[in-house]
Assembly symmetry: C2
Homo-oligomer: 895 residues x 2
């Protein structure tokens, strides 16, 4: 990191998430994540070295070198230099952002259009097969059922094999990535291919699945790949902050070109993925999404599907009198009911996932037969929608698109006036049943589709839930609209003109309300305007969407937040609607006071103690245990490296050699040259990986033998103190073990080289002695990399402000200081607990409502002053006996 | 402030702004601002005391006590307690946010509707007068001209007298307020009244002025007042963070109920006022704006103006084929031309203001006759629009609303087909001129209205520029559309169907593009959809708006940013479109290294030196000049207070008394009691104001005489060193003088009391001696209020990141540290200079484009390590001779 302002902005997941991620590996569905690109690179490097040493890998999943290369930036260096000179003038003239955005929009429009085309072809094929076999109902059923089952199974299998990260919606992961967490292999080309093909097959099956969420993910991958491709032409594309901005724009493009809704796309992507949005990124999203939507629709015109560019689901409601004021209560009812429905959908979806996980026997069986679950679900759903069977009561033969077209239809399906029976034409035919009314069909459709959609979205294929929910909402709106039309056949308005009720308008309102409730967004209203091409129902839509949001948000998290929790991704919950009591909780109420720290004048033994006693990813560096003045933050890995270096057999042997040098002068001259090289390579920057160069010569001399037994054998009599430390960590922290592998590998490598040259002349007892002696030395921090300005809070910062700052800066933890003195720490975990209120019993004293008002003037400055006075006093009388301050119980360890 | 996390989030204006604000006091138009509520309260308290003491005020503008009371929260305490108990249950049940938002929406809808009604009546009256006098053209002219002149003059005078803050748009000020700066008297009831009445009169005059910007301001004032009103029922409304959130929602309400455009209102207000937007506030804006727009339109229905709720400027373009693909180039042309036009408008507007200011003679004359300028401008504009005169060539008789209705008209004004002349009906008549074509009328209209609008918006009345620009854009679009219609009379499409070109659609596109270009927003597109009730032209509108933005943003700042600069409000410029080079400038390139600081173990003399040598609002507090470890930040006022207290005559006399006590034991017993009281009151918390209690008894004993001459006479022989310090400051920093007034006042008060009791027994020489002696004492910081966690950056932070953090957290300055050591400071000023590139000559070394890429691994940790090593070395060898570090040139002053 070039400069960690205010702590780790490009943040890592905290300890607890890492642990959860482990649990998560055993779970049924969805992709995996790891914490940090750096850690990943280190692990990989270590593993690769070990593998190269062993000749074969012992890790369960063999990795290809290409996988690793995706994370290195150094390839094609000569090609890059050449291209640079050619393109420099062009690039400097053209500017990059808009070129990038146009390319992104173009590619995504092509992808979207091609996928739509493929999906339409798939659906057409199913219809054709079903229609062609109309002589035999059983054959028809077989065709109707087999076709989607095969497609879904293929999709599930394909994504499982190629890239399990492609499973699911993608919006929750994008939200996490935009918060600054790096998810492993989430934006690679392999995932892109898996997602595109998997999604096409999944949607081609006709299951109630959506393409919106996956499109956000696809667009993000597209942006990441494009950015990597364009980085061949210049260094600008390699900036992390810029990449995040481009990813935000890509999310907008994803929604925009999925629905041909640029404005709605931008807003929806902002609402769904961001907590704080930079307005300066706004135009990027608009620009790219507009261009993408434009190309997407122009392709339809060029393909002669449309005469000109219009909306995707164009409606033709009357403009002069779209709705009556007295219809507004009905719209409000739709909104409130959709709110409950949306919350129920999220609840149902979560319960299905949890049920599948909790049932151990089912789970074990399904884990073995990964493709069985998708196949079974598809079989069940397609059986129920079989048109000659139960499907006749729920318009089963209609595809999702046809369903929407019919639901948004301009006509009234129930009796118009008094005596004319409505003629169902074309695809509207599907909604009519000879022995039941359209109301029954609609109700059955809504009920069946509801649980089907909730179930189908848990299938491990690339799929979203937005469209299914949108359709259900439209059907519910239509139901209310048709009821209103039946109730008031001549309209409510009793003036001269007769304005009949337009049930299609209700369908639009219902669609926006239910999808808004499930996703907790209000921008679904904009999406429906752009989707239908009419904005006349703006007020009913807005009212219904806001009411639906109000109800749903007070009952359940959004679908995406729910998935984030299920997947155990690192997140920070929102403060919620009525969060005023959050102003009264302060950092001092939730902070961890008992933190381990490193002092500037500590000994290596202290480092060892600290590493043993805490699992924190980064440790605060303070001036001294007395002053507790915070100087910076040092990563755990760095502390380990320092300790590692101090106790390295290399140094031990060097010491030994110096002693030996007194005995015989020139015997080791040759070996010492070899030493110099190795020392240089590994001591300068202990954690920076110099990919292969120092490794190969070292390993060439050791063809076999010691390496196999290295972790067990060699370290047995080198670095005993160190080993006990690492072993302790290995047992308690399984995730850490992986990270240690690299250090061990290095350790082993060095010791091998030296054993070759010198042999080990020290007995274990001598080594222990030497190590004890080394541990008592003062730590030399000069080679460690220290974050010089970690983010600091003060004790009186309110929870609300802390939440704001954490989500603004994407922090993972912050130190609490008081006039430079470290007094505590707040991490994402504490914050989350405090917001969710689970910590109340364990220590958060929620202040009475007016507490902050009462003591706003009196007590605010009190502790600051006291702390300052102590500091000042101390300065007057130098090195007073240290006072027992409350936040430093671990001072006993550090003399 | 309850806890300043990471520095002063609720920030104050920096030094330079304060100075500019002074310049600004002399300028012609717009309101004033000051930096900080706290400072304001102090100033006011000091002034009020002085006034009470003097019996009459010597400030030019007498203040009423009620003005001050608005800033105290303590009134009505018994009433509040009573109300609390009654309402507690209700409030806890109901929740507050939505109640507040509903109330806000309701009030604003009523205000908007009532104002529209009043404006329509005013315009009707003018039309009626003009129509009634059609016998005599001269009388007609008189009526046509006098009416708006009187209204504008009244508006200007009224706002000038009641609240000069009400002048202008209000959006620039709201942007500043939402950034965290407190503008004086900007959200008071008086300003509210002035703005509402002033705006009604201004718009009623028929000048080309808008109501959007002022409505944002009105809604914000409404929210602030409502929040203050509701705070009578509970303490929740008094939270600062919450108030900012509510202000953001209020801005959305302002736009929303002005245009009945809730979505556009929310987006426009976000784009115009925020740099980073919290998505959690999103629903607030939507909720309030929707409710407000709903009520606003329902009022129209109830008033029988409309049959049902529809758009404000409803269009009736055909839905099936809104535009041809081949028309898109024409829309793009509109966009690009609008971009240039928008930039020109902003430029023209700024130049007019600057011209008026620069011309000293004009300026002086106009300053004397404040109402002359508005009257002259109105006279000029209304003369030119006089319908029988020049107005006949520019549809002068149409009001702004009628103009828009006609421009968005569905029909084509030029020849339809080959032989039928279009019949102009109703208000369309105005566009026809017997001797010229409609093109000439349109061109004249655009040209005349362009400079008229730019000129009219500089009149010091409450007015916005959005609507005038919107109308000009619509006219321009209409012009292009009519040209296209004349060029392709049968439409471009050569298929079977003939789809004629719809010039009204072009008008919509032009309106969105020009207003988008002037305000640098893309959400004007959403506003036109909501305003016209049709979204069919979404793609042309989006394309034109984005192109217009691209052009305008590369040429000029937005109108609001331009006004911010003219008014010298504290601001941070945007990074702009192609800001990639900003990644390569780092904090170390722009930071001020030569900063003054306060050490923990410094003497009072050092404080004096620091105060004399710097103008910084807050000073860093470091551990010692050797370590430079940053402990916190102390405000300048606090340092002054410390010094003040140390040199106070009170302490001097106490010292004197102790000496005297040795001489005679009991003579001063009575006086000493009086001293005890006074010492308690003023030493405990030097800057906290205990409103009246300690003041009154002190002043009662001094009926007259010494007080009048106090500032000149009494301090003459008390606190000589202090005085020289303050005098030095007074001459160099005129704004500081006001702030010093309070301190002086206190000083004077105390000295008076003591002189009464003791007389002055010391000669000036003795005093000087005593003061020199006092200055050599070590500073006791225990009574000072210190911000324990000011925001810190590191040297390698990129300009881009710094900008993000400054705008995210609303910072005013940040310290640059390196492993706890203070090495520099960055304030808004440096950042602004670096972004605007004006500092390049003076020291910013802009790195070569790929520099950050090249040295990202090698050099990043180098200086940190060096700094750390120094620190470590120093700790090893205690108190080494101090090294000459580059960032501490002022160390010579501080031993």
């Amino acid at each position: 990191r070039s400069g960690g302002t205010g702590g780790s902005v490009g943040t890592m997941a905290s300890e607890s998430e890492a642990q959860r991620a482990l649990q998560y590996e055993q779970t049924l569905m969805y992709g995996r994540y790891t914490q940090d690109l750096g850690t990943f690179a280190k692990d990989e490097a270590a593993r690769l070295r070990l593998q190269q040493g062993h000749g074969e890998g012992d890790s369960p999943r063999p990795r290809h070198p290409s996988e690793l290369l995706e994370y290195t930036q150094g390839r094609c260096a000569p090609c890059r230099v050449c291209a640079l000179q050619c393109q420099r003038f062009l690039i400097s003239k053209v500017g990059e952002d808009w070129v990038f955005l146009i390319l992104l929009g173009l590619v995504m429009a092509l992808v979207s259009w091609a996928m739509d085309f493929a999906i339409a072809t798939c659906l057409q094929a199913q219809k054709w097969m079903y229609g062609g076999l109309d002589t035999n109902v059983f054959l028809q059923y077989l065709a109707w059922v087999t076709y989607p089952t095969v497609l879904i199974t293929f999709s599930a299998g394909f994504t499982q094999i190629l890239a399990p990260q492609a499973v699911g919606s993608g919006i929750p992961e994008m939200k996490t990535i935009l918060r600054g967490v790096v998810l492993k292999e989430y934006l690679t080309f392999k995932t892109f291919v898996a997602k595109v093909i998997g999604l096409t097959c999944a949607l081609g099956s006709g299951m109630p699945l959506g393409k919106e969420g996956p499109f956000v993910h696809i667009a993000s991958m597209c942006a990441a790949l494009l950015s990597r491709f364009l980085s061949l032409f210049g260094g600008i594309y390699e900036n992390e902050a810029r990449n995040i901005e481009m990813l935000a724009a890509a999310c907008a493009v994803g929604v925009g070109c999925c629905f041909a809704a640029p404005i709605g796309g931008v807003l929806f992507s902002i609402e769904v993925t961001s907590t704080f949005f930079a307005v300066r990124n706004y135009w990027r999203g608009f620009f790219a999404a507009t261009f993408s939507a434009f190309i997407f629709r122009v392709l339809a015109v060029w393909n002669k599907d449309e005469e000109t560019i219009t909306a995707l689901f164009k409606t033709r409601f009357r403009l002069d009198f779209p709705f009556d004021l007295q219809e507004l209560p009905a719209f409000a009812v739709i909104g409130i009911a959709s709110g409950f429905g949306g919350a129920l959908f999220v609840y149902l979806n979560r319960k299905i996932v949890q049920f599948m996980r909790r049932q151990k026997t089912i789970n074990r069986f399904l884990m073995k037969k990964r493709l069985l679950f998708p196949a079974l679900v598809t079989l069940l759903i397609s059986t129920l929608t079989f048109p000659p069977g139960f499907g006749q009561f729920m318009a089963g033969q209609l595809t999702q698109k046809d369903t929407l077209v019919t639901l948004f239809d301009n006509q009234t399906w129930t009796k118009q006036g008094l005596n004319d029976e409505f003629e169902y034409l074309g695809i509207l035919e599907a909604w009519r049943h000879p022995r039941s009314s359209v109301f029954v069909t609609l109700i059955v459709f809504i009920l069946m589709k509801f649980w089907m959609s909730a179930l189908a979205t848990t299938i491990p294929v690339p799929c979203g839930a937005f469209m299914p929910v949108f359709v259900i909402g439209a059907a519910f709106g239509r139901l209310v609209g048709e009821s209103m039309a039946a109730w008031f056949p001549d309209g409510i308005h009793t003036n001269s003109n007769t304005y009949r009720i337009v049930p299609g308008g209700y369908a639009v309102v219902g669609a926006a309300a239910l999808s808004g409730a499930v996703t907790h967004t209000v921008s679904t209203s904009v999406i429906v305007f752009e989707l239908t091409g009419q904005i006349s129902h703006i007020l009913p839509v807005m009212i219904a969407v806001i009411l639906a949001n109000a109800v749903a948000q007070s009952l359940q998290p959004s679908l995406y937040d729910s998935i984030i929790r299920i997947k155990k991704l690192p997140y920070l919950p929102e403060l919620g609607w009525g969060h005023h009591e959050k102003y009264n909780v302060r950092v001092e109420d939730i902070m961890v006071r008992d933190i381990r720290y490193v002092t500037l004048n500590c000994k290596y033994r202290d480092l060892q103690h600290v590493l043993q006693s805490t699992r924190m990813k980064s440790l605060p560096l303070v001036e001294s245990a007395e002053s507790m003045i915070l100087l910076g933050s040092i990563e755990r890995a760095q502390v380990g490296a320092l300790l590692n270096h101090q106790l390295s057999p290399q140094r031990r042997l060097q010491a030994l050699r110096q002693k030996a040098l007194a005995e015989d002068g020139h015997r080791l001259s040759e070996a010492s040259i070899c030493f110099q090289i190795n020392t240089e390579a590994s001591s300068g920057a202990p954690t920076r990986i110099n990919p292969r160069k120092p490794l190969k010569p070292a390993l060439k001399r050791v063809p076999s033998g010691p390496v196999e037994t290295a972790p067990a054998g060699t370290t047995d009599h080198t670095g005993i103190a160190l080993k006990s430390l690492f072993c302790a960590n290995t047992t308690t922290e399984p995730i850490e073990a992986q990270g240690m592998a690299y250090r061990k590998a290095k350790h082993v490598r060095i010791s091998i080289v030296e054993e070759m040259d010198l042999g080990d002349r020290m007995t274990p007892a001598e080594i222990l002695d030497w190590e004890e002696q080394q541990l008592d030395q003062l730590v030399d921090f000069s080679s460690a990399k220290i974050d010089p300005a970690p983010f600091q809070l003060v004790e009186h910062t309110s929870l609300h402000k802390t939440h704001t700052i954490f989500s603004l800066l994407g922090l993972d933890h912050a130190y609490v200081t008081s006039i430079g003195r470290l007094v505590g720490m707040v991490s994402l975990k504490e914050l989350r607990k405090a917001i969710e209120g689970s910590l109340t019993a364990k220590g958060v004293k929620v202040r009475p409502p007016l507490a902050s008002f009462r003591d706003s003037t009196a007590s605010a400055t009190e502790p600051d002053t006291t702390a300052l006075r102590q500091l000042w006093d101390r300065h007057q009388h130098h090195h007073m006996p240290r006072e027992a301050s409350p936040g430093s119980d671990d001072g006993d360890e550090l003399p």
